[in-house]
């Protein structure tokens, strides 16, 4: 089920100083995690990722995900050390047309004339969870107050 990202989260994802990682898996379930600065949120509130390299493992994994409806995850680390995980499913691989060509030009302007663009991936966000350490720890303390080494208590 698709979710709506709030304005604050959209601003964080679209901030070029935010660190972003994309986790995907191949057909055997082998994970693959890579830093991806080109992840953003588009005007429809979907995650957009620009795949530069046609033959990359990420690209293959995203194809596998869209074919068999497998989720991928995007990790976000903000400048002030908050971090979030967004799970979602790739719903569109744009390889031609207006959106593709607009991004192709932008990629080449940014990375130079040798740069290319393989695919504009659109990922439907389905779940978001804050993974900042302090938030995670307090979440656990609240849900499982007895878990932990006894010398702490």
């Amino acid at each position: 089920m698709s979710i709506q990202l709030n304005d604050q989260m959209i601003a964080l994802i679209n901030d070029p100083k935010t660190l972003k990682v994309l986790a995907s898996a191949d057909q055997d379930g082998i994970p693959h995690v890579v830093f991806k600065g080109s992840v953003s949120v588009n005007a429809d509130g979907k995650l957009q990722y620009l795949e530069i390299i046609e033959t990359s493992q990420t690209n293959r994994n995203l194809v596998h995900s869209i074919w068999f409806r497998r989720q991928v995850a995007v990790g976000i680390l903000t400048q002030d050390s908050r971090n979030y995980q967004i799970k979602g499913t790739p719903v569109r691989a744009v390889i031609c047309g207006e959106l593709f060509e607009k991004n192709y030009i932008a990629v080449r302007e940014r990375f130079g004339k040798d740069a290319d663009l393989s695919t504009v991936w659109i990922i439907d966000p389905e779940e978001i969870r804050e993974e900042t350490f302090s938030v995670q720890a307090s979440r656990e303390r609240e849900a499982y107050p007895l878990i932990g080494h006894l010398d702490r208590f």
């Binding site: 191949d26 057909q27 046609e54 293959r60 994994n61 194809v63 596998h64 869209i66 074919w67 068999f68 719903v91 569109r92 691989a93 744009v94 390889i95 031609c96 047309g97 207006e98 593709f100 060509e101 192709y104 030009i105 080449r108 663009l117 695919t119």
Partner: protein, 419 residues
């Protein structure tokens, strides 16, 4: 009592059943395969929603001619492209099946079957050069065909096999297309017109990744096919002026050439990929379906020439196209899908051992062809064949970049190589 109407649907697995039967094969590719074999039709509101300024709708090539509002091709959400002709169900040329129907739902174009929405669908975008004209005044769309990421040059719009009575490939509509349109087009395109169109097409950033040349066979010359080779070398020489690299992503789909001709292509031009379509992976059935190819070159010699091409052009650069399903056509085709699958894949493996890939084109019965009243193969069979070819590609570590989902988009088995 009313006569019961037997439906083709009762005789074979449905799309959903085939998707369930092959859980490791992309459902998008299975859908593409089904759309290709059955064709598509459009509701009036779907036609009204086509935007000729945005969608590619005009086409002049060796297989068809059109200037209307029907999109040239389809594209699915995952980037899978579909070459599917419009089929009017009542035409009698529908291969024994009903076409999918493209309609509009929630403002989007969708593929439907029996009233149910199957999947969202898009159309191939119109390239910028379509509205331009060459210096001779020719509309560029008439001399250069465009797929989403490939431009196609069909230099010779007829086929010499058809000029030798009874020698044309029985599934092929090239001669019928040419015959229908010869009053409005020349048999051979003007090289300069094509060169100008290609130069213009290359000005569109991010549009094209491949130039493909494909024509009917041109048998003449000092030696068989020398005219054909000269034609392609002339064209490729004009194209090389657009590039600073010695070799660029180009593919020739042609008759099978001899070693001398192959070396000329490789050494004198920018060409990188070579394909000579054997069409049918069985000698006896090939002889029946492709009598011209059998008479002038022969099945075993065709294969030998492919093997030579693989040595000359190198790994991953040579393949051969098959018209998948035509081998089951009556009365001389395989008697069962099981036999066709077993023997076809065994032959494909022999080709793979020699470095030659197989590109599976789904057989859809074409109006104007000798086989125009025949029946297409089942989706189950075509999917099993795609999966079998994909397994071979992986076993023999074959790349498909000259005929993949972007550079061609017409082959279910090479679509599967995306993962």
């Amino acid at each position: 009592m009313a006569e019961s109407k037997h439906s083709w649907r009762e005789d074979e697995l449905s799309l959903q059943e085939v998707i369930k039967k092959y859980p490791d094969v992309s459902p998008f590719v299975i859908l593409k395969t089904d759309v290709q074999r059955r064709g598509v039709d459009f509701t009036q509101r779907a036609i009204d929603a086509v935007d000729p300024d945005r969608d590619a709708v005009v086409y002049r090539g060796i297989y068809s001619e059109k200037n209307d509002r029907i999109p040239n091709g389809l594209i699915l959400r995952d980037g899978t492209t579909i070459l599917a002709d419009r089929v009017v169900p009542s035409s009698g040329f529908n291969g024994g099946r009903d076409p999918y129907l493209i309609d509009i739902a929630d403002g989007k174009a969708v593929l439907t079957d029996e009233g149910k929405v199957i999947e969202e669908v898009g159309y191939w975008p119109k390239p910028d050069y379509f509205d331009k004209v060459t210096s001779s005044g020719k509309p560029m769309w008439q001399v250069l065909v465009a797929r989403p990421q490939r431009m196609d040059i069909n230099l010779y719009q007829n086929c010499d096999f058809w000029k030798d009575i009874g020698m044309g490939c029985k599934f092929c509509p090239i001669a019928a297309t040419y015959s229908k349109t010869k009053n409005i087009k020349r048999e051979h395109l003007d090289y300069q017109d094509v060169a100008e169109a290609v130069a213009e097409a290359l000005k569109q950033p991010g549009r094209f990744r491949m130039i493909q040349l494909c024509s009917g066979s041109l048998l003449g010359g000092k030696e068989l096919l020398d005219d054909e080779i000269d034609q392609y070398i002339t064209m490729l020489k004009l194209l090389e002026k657009n590039f600073s690299h010695k070799k660029v992503m180009t593919q020739l789909i042609s008759t099978a050439h001899n070693e001398r001709q192959l070396r000329r292509l490789h050494e004198e031009t920018i060409l990188t990929g070579y394909t000579a379509d054997i069409e049918v992976l069985n000698e006896e059935i090939f002889n029946w379906i492709c009598p011209g190819k059998a008479k002038y070159i022969g099945y075993q010699e065709w294969k030998r020439r492919l093997y030579q091409a693989a040595e000359i052009f190198g790994p991953g650069a040579v393949n051969t196209g098959i018209v998948s399903g035509v081998e089951l056509v009556k009365p001389n085709g395989f008697r069962s899908e099981e036999e066709a699958l077993e023997k076809g894949l065994a032959e494909a493996e022999e080709l793979a051992r020699h470095g030659v890939g197989v590109a599976q084109t789904v057989y859809r019965v074409a109006e104007g062809s000798y086989f125009q009243k025949q029946k297409a193969a089942s989706l189950d069979y075509l999917t099993a064949f795609a999966k079998g070819l994909d397994t071979l590609q992986r076993r023999y570590r074959q790349e498909a970049y000259f005929d993949d989902y972007r550079t061609c988009g017409n082959h279910p088995n090479t679509d599967l190589a995306r993962i």
